[in-house]
Symmetry: C2
Subunit: 230 residues, 2 copies
DNA sequence: TCAGGACATTGACATTTGTCAATAAAAAAT
DNA sequence: ATTTTTTATTGACAAATGTCAATGTCCTGA
């Protein structure tokens, strides 16, 4: 479907995360040495919150969700699609995962030894700076999310999630979601019944077209308005 | 009141953040060159969300709150006390602040030119690694916070904030809060009326002693229980 | 094809939480 | 000391949201 293609070797691979752009061929070769590829079926868990975190994970195919297992409910922090990576804060603290990750679709990932990654961070200042920049972007994204979750009412939260799905994940409109209604709820901090109801209301108001898992944003302006109003 | 004391010079200063422990005397001198001290009265704003972010800010006295100005409400992300620093993610993205900071008490801070800080990050890999470690700790803290805010009911959220205040900010019990009830509400994502009511209920149940701004956790076990139950 | 299971949908209802208005208390200013 | 202003408190009520139970739909495997 697109030009992304795996390679035997990180040097020639065109499905590596752009975070690696500052690495020399030799450094890429070091990454390659400590790397292996894994396939996951939809629903399979990549790693569980609380377990050791020995890998930098780079998604080359599919879709994964990152979620915190809270008190009865889950909170989905983000969806990750190719070519992006998963590298949680625990790697620099206590080598534990602070969230779980699961494949939403059939997924392929490259795992890289975390120590190699950290060694390169210390060796290559440009790489380190790029890494810090990405961690910062992540933090900014999280700020938006926490404001949405704590200060907006349900329609506003659903609106934000729909924009996120359209702009960052599926990148088209209409888009066919591969996540469940429960996932939609876990992304927007509400019960699945509520997420279904809000979706239905937005449909009845003509703001969305919803047909099973196909969603189209019909009235972007009004949805944007709902996102703002809370 | 304590042994913390400012100095003319970062090298001899014993109120510098421990993040600087990996710097050489020469590097500390570089920090010192681009540094100046500022005093703030209670309530004064250190910087506003959206404005340029030219400084690494290190608190040497007082207490500050970091808060996102959302839709009508504020969300307090953290309180910062000496000797700790404020350095938001915008510095590595677009040089803008993504949250505001205001003095809660009479406060003193050292401001350091952000470019000097970033230069040292690139020069000194140990310093860079320590910085990444701290950013990671921050992220982990934020995870706990977002779970509390999105998955717990009001008593659980207040319980979490009370533990935070006792363990991380005032570091004693009983403790006298210097933040308002509105701030308490902004920390726990609710209206100030609700924060007052929950405090009252916890008092009536004998879990807290509340007298004006003095709070004592009387039944830690039960409060812990409330935090867990949601 | 059919049975079983997972996911989606809906309605009724209880609970949680916010809003508004009134009052009290405390702090700041004159 | 007194007024003014801010902050804290309380109660009544409305709105938002979750829970539970029933039902429908879709998909999978025998």
């Amino acid at each position: 479907m697109n030009k992304i293609q795996e390679s035997e070797n990180c040097r020639n691979c065109n499905c590596k995360s752009s975070i690696f752009r500052n690495l020399t061929p030799d450094e890429l070769e070091q990454i390659n040495q400590g790397r292996y590829t894994v396939h996951y079926k939809a629903g399979e868990i990549l790693f569980k919150q609380g377990t050791p975190s020995p890998h930098f994970v780079c998604l080359t195919k599919g879709l994964a969700k990152l979620y915190i297992e809270g008190y009865g409910k889950n909170l989905i922090l983000a969806l990750v699609k190719p070519v992006d990576y998963i590298f949680g804060p625990g790697s620099y603290v206590d080598n534990r995962h602070y969230y779980s990750a699961a494949a939403v679709e059939e997924t392929t990932a490259c795992l890289v030894d975390v120590n190699i990654f950290k060694r390169l961070i210390k060796q290559n200042p440009d790489f380190a700076e790029e890494f810090i920049r990405r961690v910062s972007l992540q933090a900014i994204f999280n700020f938006d999310q926490v404001v949405s979750l704590t200060q907006k009412q349900m329609p506003g939260r659903i609106a934000d999630v729909l924009f996120y799905l359209r702009e960052k994940i599926y990148e088209k409109n209409p888009f066919e979601i591969t996540i469940s209604r429960q996932d939609l709820a876990d992304l927007s901090g509400m019960s699945k019944e509520s997420s279904i109801r809000i979706l239905k209301e937005l449909k009845e108001e003509g703001i969305l077209r919803v047909n099973g898992n196909t969603i189209e944003i019909l009235n972007e302006k009004q949805l944007r308005q709902i996102s703002q109003t809370g």
